[in-house]
Symmetry: C5
């Protein structure tokens, strides 16, 4: 589905143009065309391939989706794939955007994602000084917008982790903790697969040998790279903390169990003593003088209570009860 | 066993040719010969070695099999070894294909694998525009076909992992989980040994200094490289998740055991109290007035039931029962 | 909030100057201006941007804060962000300082931090020989001062770790240990995120290709780099030790539990024997000759005590009691 | 002890020569001398040092043994140290071979190892075409022979691992498994210390800048390098599997213990109920009407058996018995 | 404290000289001065700084100590810091030596260490051929001497590890093992912090671009580098083994506990059966015919003994007792 097809010159919007006319505009000096597609059909992609002379492998990738985030050069054209993760029903689902950038065109193809990039276009049109840098700046603006969407997801991971951490030493929370930690780990892994490969290649857009189309906006791409590095570092931190938390959680379960075992065994011991004593006076020997004493029973009860009491006191002192 | 031996010119099939005539065709301009062998005998390999002037070490590797996946240059000839993993009786078994590529020939030697590459040849012959690129493109087509076979194996690993994950917090599934996780880990390790070394060397076929025979198809090899990177990343993710899952599984066992211990100990405590009380009234003291009461027995039963009830209620409230 | 704005020439302070005059002083030869801001307002930053011709992305970073530590070049201007961690209420909180350095100016913007850099300025002014090196030396002095603040935090981590280590084999300290280890790990992680990214980039300021403004002070920057490497190495050591300590702690809990289980089970066994024996003599068979013996009861008690004693002795010998 | 001292020309053996004449043969064109020593004395080494003008540090290393595997260049002479691990009494013991290679000589010094390299010499002499490449090819042949000796050790590790894996989920095998896994880990570590440093440096002998003496046999050294990479990869796989197996083993112990605990506790509960009921009817209240019933006893036994039976049935249904 | 101050020419000692004359000797051709200080005062260091024109940052580092091992170039002067670990009261304590090396001088400053370097000087003076290489060779000799001191420490770690390993599967040694493993880990970590940073930088002294002062002794520095690599590899091996041993130790504790639990529970079950049976015959029903049998009691005892015996036999057969 075509969303926009606009021609720009010297940083200013010239006109919404029909797709068929693209070819003509591409030939004008200092002019570039910015096309946005969404869930593009095969026909649309084929048309774009012809208009912009795109490489078949890149178009194939844009068509099939489910690519790794990457930045590839096909001659003068840059091909960028980024993930668009969104929280849906508590799961982290991943749309995708494929961007083709040449000296005088930008083509973005968004797949399986709710949120569009209209805001990016508006912001760019409000800043003609920047837009003058050409297609490279548009690529930056799109990448920046995509990366900005990773931050709230990162924040939600960090918030969840903090919640779990605040309960990690709570008694009886172990099972709930471990489930949430595992779930968090999975989401962190998804976000990492979104960010890490992009970080790896984003360095190619600034410093050293840079694709021609990006050379005028290098500082901006470094900024995107830096944001990705920040997110990636934070994810690594989260993953590391989760690993420790799972270990600590296991320790806490073991400690708790150890305490429960002690407590129950202590009570069992108290009753075992009582039962043993009662059993002794329940024996049927004829010659058991204390059985005939007037206060024998009371003394027996006292003895049992006393033994139990002593044990209770000692266990408590040892911190078991 | 010889499967095919065909000569191509300008991307089009010229003729099936006998092995003896290869030498003549190799001298024709813009012409290349594509030979496919399967479980080749020593004689066949020796013949090929002479026809194409192959290096003895490479031929040795092709003969013995069980190589690490690799890409090696012997002068102008490229020697590629790839694994062909197949699921057989629930085990991941690995065949192998060795490919020799020169400026004007391709020789593939398949060992210990059921699935052939006839489809690759057919597809190549249908796209003469691509095949015009020469032997390099055939190498790409073969590598692409091999790598495409890794995806269903990866998918089966991911499906299995998801199945295990959906049961990882189920009560009593620990043993079954741990066995399946261990088995999954082994299969993931096999696939990794298939993919990782290939990924390592596949980067040599695009960008930077590239073997002459591949230089015209660089973008295609980058695509293969990218697929391998995707698979490798996914395997790393699976391995990481398995490690966490094993840890979590251990935690769950410990938590479950802790709960069972609590529950049983609670019941034991309830019966221990009953036994102790019954033991007390079973003592043989003469002066135990309550024994003579009319409702003594009922009161005793009530006391026992009451004590048991109080304990039961408290344990339940504490979440132990 | 403006803190200072001073012009220097040949390593000596010329005058406190008003912000508006900066432009004039920048044009004088061998002269540089050093401005310090604290929690700068947007207006102040905009003014500085114009005076020193700063890049908008760097200014944006200084405004928003919460950056990763980094060193970036914008043309001839160097932009450095460092964290200023401070212990507040037992938590490690992080302020930030952003420093812009050009051939003839230094601008530091401190955010969310109590401690200032007046001491640095004073020290610099006392050493005109060094200050003669220009803006680069000021950058060194500021970085050195920031890095020096990391050492006491590192020391407190090491002290805490030593305290925990001295108790790690103490009986019953497991829960407390694990909590403290977890807390320590978190603080070490915070410090690591402060140090590691800075270490990564600090190498750019000495050896190899160095920004022009730093080239005269390379040895000094290497010294800062070396300090960062030392801190980073120490943090890695702490983290490694914490990981081992958590594992060891789990082992200790398990060992302790094992000992408690043995001890309690041993006592339980002793009383179970007593109860079983008492139960036997409590049976109501008519023909139980020992019940009528004169010393039957005493013998029974002796038998019970003897059985218990033997068990006690054996358990003690086995090290269980 | 001198084993051989032979001169070769153009790939063919000329003569066994006395050590004293080496000097003369070294001056002949296209001629090289191949000397093999075993457990060399200081005198022998000193003599060789003079004949071949070896560097004192290399000679020292050859004398003392216990070196890390390494490849070092001393001027035009290459110095190679490799380990010769052998299974002796179930332990992996390591001999060593030090090889000096110059343009026209090869000197191998074998220490503390049973197996010699006579086979290598014979093979070389049978292939004069290869031997024509000179001293470099002899180095290759020796390295290839050494590396080939690593494979059976690797195989024995893999076989042992498979044996353990086949029993890892067996009930009651935990202790035996853990001992064998630990032992396997040790042997894998020994082999790794033999292979990994060699792999690290073997890459220097092919591709890029290569020592002159090896330049004609590069493809052969790449083959050795590839073999080492294969072994190293396999060891890494084994180590990784062992780590997982140890973890899994711990899980299995915990699961087994959990099951035993459940089973025993279930039986304990059944008998506790019986004891409690018997205790109640063993109380001495006067007014316990059921005691006087004709079938009271039978009913009591039935009640006890019934309670035990119900519990048994429920525990079995819950999978505890 | 000044230890020595000696001038050398062409590898031979000329004279012990007073510190004040250093300046003069430095100007003579082919002459170098070797000064050794111990726990130098600020005055001594200041004097040396002037005599040899040392960089203030390096002098500061030598004064304060507690540096990371490192090798730094200040112009033509090389500054080397190495740790001197010594066993004191069972703890691994670390002294330090800082070495300044220029074209015609060596200055070593030893701090907080008992063992001196007189032996090094003596050995050097006995080998004028080597000493002719100049200050670089002295640096090598000092580094070699320092690194040689690491070996006995490494040996003691390995011996301790072997001792622990020989007991790791012993029953009841778990607590002692875990304490010793933890202690060993700490000492290994100390040694690693001594060796690893030095290894990292020692590579700069041979191959590639080498400081002028070391260029004539490259092969010697490579030897030191190789020693460091060997030590570092061994430490990594120790650390890896410790990690596994801790894990295995935990498994062993769990296995032992599991066995103890089984054994005790088995005995408990035997007595529980006895108690239950005795309880049944202790019930007070009037109509319990067996109570009146002549051999009822004997039969009861036999039944109890029989039940206990059967259980005992079954538990033993199952390997629990």
């Amino acid at each position: 589905m075509l969303i926009n097809c606009v021609a720009y010159q010297d940083g200013r919007k010239l006109a919404d143009i029909p797709v068929e006319d693209i070819d003509g505009w591409l030939r004008k000096p200092n002019c570039f065309v910015w096309v946005a597609l969404r869930d593009a059909t095969d026909d649309e992609l084929r048309q774009m391939q012809q208009e912009f002379d795109l490489h078949e492998l890149a178009v194939e990738d844009a068509r099939h989706g489910h690519q790794r985030p990457k930045i590839e050069e096909y001659g003068d054209t840059l091909f960028v794939v980024m993930k668009l993760p969104e929280m849906r029903d508590g799961e982290l689902d991943s749309g995708e955007v494929a961007i083709f950038v040449g000296q005088n065109f930008v083509l973005s193809v968004r797949n399986n994602s709710q949120q569009g990039f209209l805001g990016v276009r508006e912001r760019c049109e409000r800043e003609p000084d920047h837009l003058k840098q050409g297609a490279g700046f548009v690529l930056y603006a799109l990448m920046d917008a995509v990366v900005d969407r990773y931050f709230p997801i990162l924040d939600s991971l960090e918030t969840d982790l903090e919640k779990i951490e605040s309960q990690i030493f709570d008694r009886g929370a172990a099972k709930w903790n471990i489930q949430r930690l595992y779930d968090l780990k999975r989401r962190a892994t998804v976000l990492r697969h979104v960010v890490a490969p992009l970080l790896e290649v984003a360095g190619k857009l600034h410093g050293g040998r840079v694709p021609a189309v990006c050379s005028r906006s290098q500082e901006y791409f470094r900024d995107v790279h830096d944001h990705l590095a920040r997110i990636n570092g934070a994810i690594d931190g989260i993953r590391d903390t989760i690993a420790t938390a799972i270990q600590v959680n296991l320790s806490m379960v073991t400690i708790e169990e150890s305490e429960t075992t002690k407590r129950l065994a202590a009570y069992a011991a108290i009753f075992a003593v009582s039962t043993a004593l009662a059993g002794i006076w329940g024996m049927n020997f004829e010659n058991m003088p204390e059985l005939k004493w007037k206060y024998g029973y009371v003394m027996a009860l006292a003895a049992i209570a006393g033994a139990a009491g002593v044990l209770f006191w000692r266990f408590r002192r040892a911190g078991w009860l």
